[in-house]
């Protein structure tokens, strides 16, 4: 909507011409300037500028929905109102039905806790036919650390849902729906993301997994708090993918120990701690004074005795 053309918004002709003559073509160009700047630049009066800005804003403004209509649409159009069940009762209840569509879900935990196993299971569940409670769709699995194991996934399937996997050919069909990508570097990942965007739209892909996000960024951190996250662009791109294709996206992340210092506090918290410390000092000071007195007294006593 930001790139909507001003000339197509039905402004009064004279006003539209003035905008075009000053090379203000899109809504973005116009709205990036204040009303006074526009007055100067376009050489028209305040009233006309405010009227034009209001008009452009109305056109560039995204449409609204009530929260109720959003909810009803999801219930109508999507599996479980937009959720992929994990089949873990407690987790599904907490997540209102499962991994939500349209947003990014991050799995975090220490090494060996089972993040990859969790992802494998999710890929399997999404690839199940809809008659068995799956999404019956393709899955894109970005495997950064080469941890994906088809054997393990089939094993999981046979053990957890034997009635399906013992059927001839179904295991093959489902495993065939899972596309594994193995980018070797961040730049390769960037490239494949662009491809994923295209294939998400063209093919019936209903789940995207990135295992793991942290491995992509490792080694690219400098000391001190980073100014801009190396994966900032990727994360927002993935987020927009999830939202506009209305699919669940699952990414995994590693854990790091964090130093608890002032960098995780606000100024008012630091000040309060400093005040507390100040209050403690007099007590210590008295104690030291007392010790000193005692010490000198002892010395004097010794001196007298000698």
């Amino acid at each position: 909507m930001a790139n909507k053309l001003i000339s197509e918004m039905g402004l009064p002709k004279s006003t539209a011409h003035v905008f075009a003559a000053r090379n203000i073509i899109t809504a973005k160009d116009a709205l990036s300037l204040s009303e006074f700047e526009l007055m100067e630049l376009l050489d028209v009066g305040l009233e006309e500028v405010t009227r034009a800005v209001a008009h452009i804003s109305e056109f560039a403004c995204p449409p609204y929905q009530t929260a109720l209509s959003v909810l009803e649409q999801r219930i109508q159009n999507e599996n479980m109102a937009g959720h992929l069940p994990t089949r873990l009762k407690g987790l599904d209840a907490a997540l209102c039905g499962g991994i939500p569509f349209g947003v990014v879900t991050e799995l975090v935990g220490p090494a060996g806790i089972g993040k990859t196993q969790f992802c494998l299971k999710l890929a399997l569940l999404a690839s199940l036919p809809t008659s068995y409670g799956g999404l019956g769709a393709h899955v894109i699995y970005v495997d950064v650390e080469s941890k994906f194991s088809s054997r393990r996934m089939i094993e999981m399937g046979i053990n957890s849902i034997p009635e399906i996997f013992q059927k001839e050919g179904l295991a093959q069909e489902m495993a065939g729906r899972i596309l594994v990508l193995r980018p070797a570097s961040l730049s390769e990942f960037t490239e494949s993301l662009q491809q994923i965007k295209v294939s998400l739209l063209q093919h019936h892909v209903k789940l995207l997994i990135v295992d793991s996000m942290a491995a992509l960024a490792s080694g690219e951190y400098g000391p001190g708090p980073p100014r801009q996250h190396p994966l900032g662009w990727h994360i927002s791109f993935i987020k927009s993918l999830a939202e506009f294709c209305r699919i669940p996206v699952v990414v995994t992340n590693q854990v790091r120990s964090q130093v608890h210092d002032d960098a995780s506090r606000y100024l008012f918290q630091v000040q309060r701690i400093a005040e507390l410390r100040l209050k403690k000092i007099p007590q210590n000071f008295l104690l030291i004074l007392l010790l000193l007195l005692e010490f000198t007294g002892l010395m004097l006593l010794l001196f007298v005795l000698c």
Binding site: M1, A2, A27, K28, L31, S32, S34, M39, E40, L42, D43, V44, G45, L46, E47, V53, A54, I56, S57, E58, F59, A60, C61, P62, Y64, Q65, T66, A67, L68, V70, L71, R74, A81, C96, G97, P100, G102, V103, G224, P225, G232, S236, K239, S240, E243, D261, D262, A263, S264, R265, Y266, L267, F268, Q269, V270, R272
Partner: protein, 347 residues
């Protein structure tokens, strides 16, 4: 009054000045055709200028009237009266309400910031639901506008909070009016969702456009009593290189929101992210968007972790004491902290 204060275009102003018209009074006795001849402009244009000028003159005359010394001003006494009678939006956490003087106040811009996961969006959804509590229950009975820039609004969660709110209202009803007929205005949870207008904004241009458009939208939907922007920061932090432009755009937006809050008597709630800032030799957390933005909002509330408990701290407010209170995020929404023996702590 001088010509230079008139809201007309630069070239028209230049023409007026070069033709010798420097004060408003010099324009007062002119006819449009005379002015058009003098300035070598079309008659309609001259008429426009005279219209603007006479409006200005009219304003001046009114200012000299007996009622108000300055047009559009209000006495402090009237403001006090208005403030006392205005209903605030409860946060559903009585400790938090206490330090806020009853809740989020209408007519003002309130900024709420904190680290990811502290409960900013939860609080925002809670407010979007609570603004709809009918007047019979001490609420505003209004509607909410929710402008989502991050895609973090969850309808399921809004439904849960609405269900809890409807439940609370029923309980309150049965406690208070045991022998009376059931109170009118009991609401279904879904009704709450129907009164939340949700805008999903994907670029900063759209964000500005929505804020510009709000005036018209609220004029058409007069019962909107809260505007929530979750978050004001998102599009201005990523891929934004021109810092001067950013400051200007944010400043303009803040002004428009303040005007909106005053004009329609509604609360504006802005969510903000945090950043680290180098101060006095160490890094510290602070709200994003820099110092000039810090002046933009009337009230500023920081949500923070204190050990394993969530706290809210009033960082800036013209009328409230700076204080902190604990709160918790429960299945029902924002509520009092369970392990709260110390009550409110005033600093």
């Amino acid at each position: 009054m001088e010509i230079s204060t008139l809201p007309i275009s630069a070239s028209q102003r230049g023409k007026l000045l070069s033709a010798g018209y420097t004060s408003l009074s010099s324009l007062s006795s002119l006819s449009p055709s005379g002015l058009a001849q003098d300035l070598k402009i079309s008659e309609t244009e001259a008429l426009e200028i005279l219209k603007v000028a006479s409006q200005r003159n009219g304003l001046n005359k009114f200012e000299n009237g007996s009622r108000a010394i300055v047009n559009g001003a209000q006495t402090a006494w009237d403001m006090l009266h208005e403030e006392e009678s205005s209903i605030r939006i409860t946060t559903s956490c009585s400790d938090l309400d206490e330090i806020l003087g009853g809740g989020i106040s209408p007519k003002e811009v309130t900024e709420i910031g904190g680290v990811p996961g502290i409960g900013k969006t939860q609080l925002a959804i809670q407010l979007a639901v609570n603004v709809q509590i009918p007047a019979d229950y001490g609420g505003l009975g209004g509607k909410a506008i929710y402008i989502d820039t991050e895609g973090s609004f969850m309808v399921e969660r809004a439904l849960q909070i609405a269900e809890a709110c409807a439940q609370d209202m029923l309980e309150y009803n049965s406690l208070l009016r045991k022998n009376f007929k059931p109170c009118q205005g009991n609401k279904e949870p879904k009704e709450f969702l129907d009164n939340i207008f949700y805008f999903r904004v994907c670029t900063y241009t759209e964000q500005i456009a929505v804020i510009n458009y709000l005036e018209k939208f609220i004029f058409e939907h007069k019962d909107v009593k809260v505007v929530i922007i979750d978050s004001i920061t998102f599009h201005f932090r990523q891929d934004f290189e021109d810092m001067a432009l950013r400051t200007r755009l944010l400043g303009g937006m803040a002004l428009k929101l303040m005007k909106l809050a005053k004009k329609f008597n509604l609360a504006v709630v802005l969510l903000n992210q945090v950043t680290t800032k180098f101060m006095d030799g160490s890094f510290q957390l602070t709200l994003a968007l820099g110092d000039s933005w810090a002046h933009a909002s009337t009230n500023r509330i920081i949500l923070y972790w204190n050990g394993n408990e969530r706290y809210a701290y009033i960082d800036k407010s013209p009328s409230l004491r700076s204080a902190s209170a604990s709160y918790s995020v429960t299945g029902k929404g924002i509520r009092n902290s369970a392990s709260n023996c110390k009550r409110v702590k005033l600093m």
